[in-house]
């Protein structure tokens, strides 16, 4: 995979509406096949008002691909999405460097609990690395909010903190955190723990 190809496929992956040509590329079939299916109603979509161009919404395409057992690789990235939440910029940078160095992760960052809430809704991370002490809310609130959201049901949460208080840790694990890592951390151990949680 070339860099440009990667960039293009990355672009495709994030689109919400697809042309028949794009759908054909994603499904690795001919454009004609897509058009035929669209016209037969097996792949529902809409025509651009005032033209005959067919357009296919993302959800419909995914349904179609699943119905026909077409691998979703090209639509959904194989990379695991990780959201890093910490108010310390340098810590965030460190996590990003560590995670991107691995190459298997798609990393986004947030510096407040509020940002973390919005981003997780959009980005739907597989895993969140959450600093316990945020400027606006504490980690356990973020934990509880995430656990109450069915969309984020499968999101793993690792809490990181410089302060070790066993009672707080117990509370966090109760609130739905999957693990606790103390700062400073051992990178190898952190990575192996992430792999375990994401089952990769």
């Amino acid at each position: 995979m070339t860099d440009s190809g990667s960039a293009a496929s990355s672009e495709l992956r994030n689109k919400q509406v697809f042309t028949t040509g794009e759908a054909a590329e994603i499904c690795q079939v001919s454009q004609q096949t897509i058009i035929r299916c669209f016209d037969a109603g097996r792949l529902t979509g809409f025509r651009v008002p005032g033209s005959r161009f067919r357009r296919i919404p993302r959800e419909e395409l995914i349904r179609f691909m699943k119905d026909n057992s077409i691998p979703l690789d090209r639509l959904e990235s194989s990379k695991k999405r990780i959201l890093v939440v910490d108010d310390d910029e340098q810590i965030v940078e460190l996590f990003v460097d560590v995670l991107e160095r691995d190459g298997r992760f798609d990393v986004r960052t947030a510096s407040t609990g509020y940002d973390a809430g919005i981003l997780s809704q959009q980005f739907r991370p597989d895993l969140m690395i959450l600093d316990y002490m945020l400027p606006d809310v504490n980690g356990n609130v973020v934990c509880n909010t995430a656990r109450d959201n069915p969309v984020l049901a499968n999101m793993k949460i690792i809490i990181v903190s410089g302060v070790v208080n066993q009672d707080e840790i117990d509370d966090l694990l109760q609130s739905g955190a999957d693990d606790f890592v103390k700062k400073p951390f051992n990178i190898e151990r952190l990575m192996s723990r992430i792999n375990e949680l994401l089952e990769i």
Partner: protein, 771 residues
């Protein structure tokens, strides 16, 4: 007399009922009383009444014969007699005869000899009083409220209450008589004390029952009351006259009245009631003569004048003799008291010269006992203040303790002070003797043992055990016993006070320690806050340093100098972070999780923790000879503390390794765990600061840390403490003393195997952050 006592009130009521049930006054007497108190009644009626009673007729005629020589020759009839004598005389004669007849049951045979109420003597007293009252009244004819005839009747009957009481309660009254004779008191007082009621009240009730005139009733009731205190009635002076007559007669020792008290002299009393003392005296001179005439006339007694005098003199002698006996008694009592005072003074002189400790006071008591009771073997039993045990001290004749023993009190007796004092052994003392013999030696014959209780204000202060068979008289013994008892008692109190002040000092010391500890905990709390803040503030940059260093190490070629440097940065930042964590945990240790654990499990955990920190250390020898009971404690805290002690022991370079031994202190029910090394040991300065965080004996070369401070912190958090004993070059013994809590907890807890729970695993990982 306690009239509030319901039983005594009931008793009085019973007595009064009996008094009231006395046979009524014979009809003839009643009738005569009525007739003669009525001025208008005809003489004929009196005559008829007397005639109705033949024996009375005979007596009246006899009275006439005796009274008037001139009448002897004349043929006597009642009619003539009444004319001759006047019906007042008749009335008085009849009353004299009839009233006393109504109490005239003969004494039982055999009782005669007893010192019982002598009726003839009493009757003579009554008659004499009647005569005295009559004579005094006669001397004061100008006073219309004093009628001589009335005065006679009142005087005659004034003591009728005594007769009534004697009749109803002969035995009790005999005691009243005896006691009155012994104490020379007023009989009325003794009556009240023994019977609960005096003859005044009894007389009043009788008068009411017999429907006698108010005058009589009041006379019976109030004749002994001072004139001033008499109620303001028209016959007030008559009442007082009876009292005066009674006094005059008693002064002359005529008959028997039972009252030995002479409150006033006759003249004063006469003046108080407005009489002329001279005329009273004139009247008094004629009493005996007149008495002889009357008794003769009434045929009641054949006592001639000389005999009356003799009787009076004998009676006076008798009183004098009694007075002499009392004086003699007083004198010998005074002698005995003098001896007692001498003994007490000697004791005080001795006791005062020595120090005032309890032991000294008791020694002084014993030497005083040797001097006052006699030389012999003595022992002293007392109860040291605040203790349940009793102490028995045995003494030699010098008053020195030869044997001293603290013993359990005898069964059934707990407080020595509660034992009541008595010269005879009371029942609860009987329990003491057999028990006592177990502890006493040197007494030749235990059967001769005697106890002398030493009383003080709050009971029995101590008991002297002695073998003296002849003791000083009671007064002296009592005085000595009280003196000794008070001395021992106050010395005991003094000792108690001293012990209290010592306890106070001890409490102060503990308080100071607690304050120190509190101060330490306060500074620890501040340290905790600081460490928590530091953990947050420092661990973030440390995380960056450590993370970047790790990333660097990964990028750099393996084994290169730069890569090693990066690895070092990582390691050192990690150590720094560990130290911050340790400090935080030290200041704010997690709450102990109390569970039942076996000491073996704790030791296993401790060894694991130790080897995690220093894997080069050998496995330990662990001596646990006895089967130790399961502990209820926080396994992690205890194990962490033990591991710190073991690490510390190994750092002292022991020649023969480190030994750990456990045992249970049965007295305090606590676990004693010793970690012993034979290494370099500590000097006094090091020992003093051994528990200070970051203190190290070596200025360099040894890693300073929290080791012992942390161990102490953990042990304290589970209620124990650590003691260090150390000498330079002789090694160190660190001892954990941990109370074994609630051994009697549900046995189920003991059955639960002390498996490390998931939480403990988690905690473990956090506590030990070594890679």
């Amino acid at each position: 007399m306690n009239t509030a006592d319901p039983t005594s009130a009931r008793r009085i009521e019973l007595i009064l009922e009996q008094v009231e049930s006395l046979p009524t006054l014979p009809v003839v007497a009643m009738k005569l009383l009525k007739l003669t108190s009525d001025e208008g009644s005809a003489a004929q009626e009196v005559i008829e009444t007397v005639k109705a009673d033949p024996s009375l007729t005979a007596k009246i005629l006899a009275l006439c014969k005796n009274a008037s020589v001139t009448a002897k020759s004349q043929a006597l009839t009642i009619d003539k007699a009444v004319v001759l004598l006047g019906f007042e005389t008749i009335r008085n004669a009849v009353l004299s005869i009839k009233v006393f007849e109504s109490f005239s049951d003969d004494p039982e045979p055999g009782e005669d000899d007893l010192a019982r109420f002598s009726r003839p003597a009493f009757w003579r007293h009554c008659l004499a009083t009647a005569i005295a009252a009559e004579l005094i009244a006669d001397q004061h004819r100008e006073m219309h409220d004093l009628d001589a005839g009335e005065a006679f009747v009142c005087g005659l009957l004034h003591g009728i209450g005594k007769l009534a009481l004697e009749h109803v309660l002969p035995k009790s009254y005999q005691r009243v008589i005896e006691l009155t004779e012994q104490t020379n008191a007023n009989i009325a007082e003794i009556e009240r004390r023994i019977l609960g009621i005096d003859h005044h009240t009894a007389g009043k009730r009788l008068a009411e029952k017999w429907n006698l005139p108010h005058l009589l009733c009041d006379c019976f009731w109030l004749y002994e009351s001072p004139f001033r205190s008499l109620p303001d009635v028209e016959h007030k002076r008559m009442i007082a006259l009876v009292g005066l007559a009674d006094l005059v007669v008693r002064k002359q020792h005529i008959g028997y009245s039972g009252n030995y008290q002479f409150a006033d002299d006759v003249a004063t009393r006469a003046e108080q009631m407005g009489l002329d003392p001279t005329r009273v005296a004139t009247a008094a001179e004629r009493i005996i003569e007149e008495l002889e005439n009357r008794t003769k006339a009434l045929g009641l007694a054949e006592t001639p004048t000389s005999r009356v005098f003799l009787d009076s003199i004998m009676s006076a002698n008798d009183v004098l003799g009694r007075l002499n006996t009392r004086l003699e008694n007083h004198r010998s009592k005074a002698t005995r008291q003098t001896k007692a005072i001498e003994s007490v003074t000697r004791f005080h002189a001795n006791a005062a010269s020595s120090a005032r400790s309890l032991g000294d006071v008791m020694a002084a008591v014993i030497s005083s006992a040797n001097a006052s009771l006699g030389v012999g073997t003595y022992a002293m039993i007392y109860q040291p203040s605040g203790q349940t045990e009793w102490q028995i001290n045995q003494y030699n004749t010098d008053g020195n303790v030869t044997r001293s023993e603290l013993v359990e009190p005898p069964p059934g007796v707990d407080q020595l002070t509660n034992l009541t004092r008595s010269n005879d052994l009371p029942v609860d003392w009987m329990a003491v003797l057999p028990w006592l013999s177990d502890y006493l030696m040197g007494f030749a014959d235990l059967r001769k043992l005697r106890l002398l209780a030493l009383p003080c204000a709050w009971g029995t202060a101590a008991v002297i055990v002695h073998d003296q068979q002849t003791l000083p008289p009671d007064e002296e013994l009592d005085a000595l016993a009280y003196t000794w008892g008070s001395s021992v008692g106050s010395a005991t109190q003094h000792e108690g006070a001293r012990r209290l002040s010592e306890q106070l000092a001890e409490s102060n010391r503990v308080l100071t320690e607690t304050q120190d500890s509190l101060l330490r905990h306060r500074s620890l709390a501040r340290l905790g806050e600081m460490a928590a803040g530091a953990a947050h503030e420092m661990n973030n940059p440390l995380a960056v340093i450590s993370g970047r260093a790790q990333l660097l190490a990964m990028h750099l070629s393996k084994g290169s100098k730069d890569q090693q440097a990066a690895a070092q940065i990582f390691e050192q930042s990690q150590k720094l972070s560990d130290m911050i964590t340790a400090l935080h945990l030290f200041a704010e240790p997690p709450q102990p999780q109390i569970r039942a654990v076996s000491i073996d499990d704790v030791m296993q955990e401790a060894v694991q923790l130790m080897r995690k920190r220093n894997p080069k250390l050998p496995a330990l020898r662990f001596n646990s000879p006895e089967k130790l009971p399961p502990l209820r404690t926080d396994k992690q805290h205890l194990a962490a503390a033990i591991s710190e002690l073991m690490l510390n022991a190994y750092e002292a370079n022991p020649r023969n390794g480190v030994k750990v031994a456990t045992q249970v202190d049965p007295l305090d029910n606590r676990l004693i765990l010793k970690v012993v090394d034979d290494g370099v040991g500590m000097d006094a300065h090091t020992l003093e600061h051994a528990f200070d965080p970051f203190f190290s004996a070596k200025p360099a070369g040894r890693q300073p840390g929290l080791g012992l401070a942390r161990a102490q912190r953990f042990v304290e958090s589970i209620g124990g403490r650590i003691e260090l004993i150390s000498q330079p070059d002789h090694g160190t013994t660190a001892t954990i003393l941990l109370p074994i809590v609630a051994e009697s907890e549900k046995p189920m807890d003991h059955a639960i195997p002390a498996k490390p729970s998931a939480e403990e695993n988690g905690e473990n990982r956090v506590v030990d952050t070594h890679p």
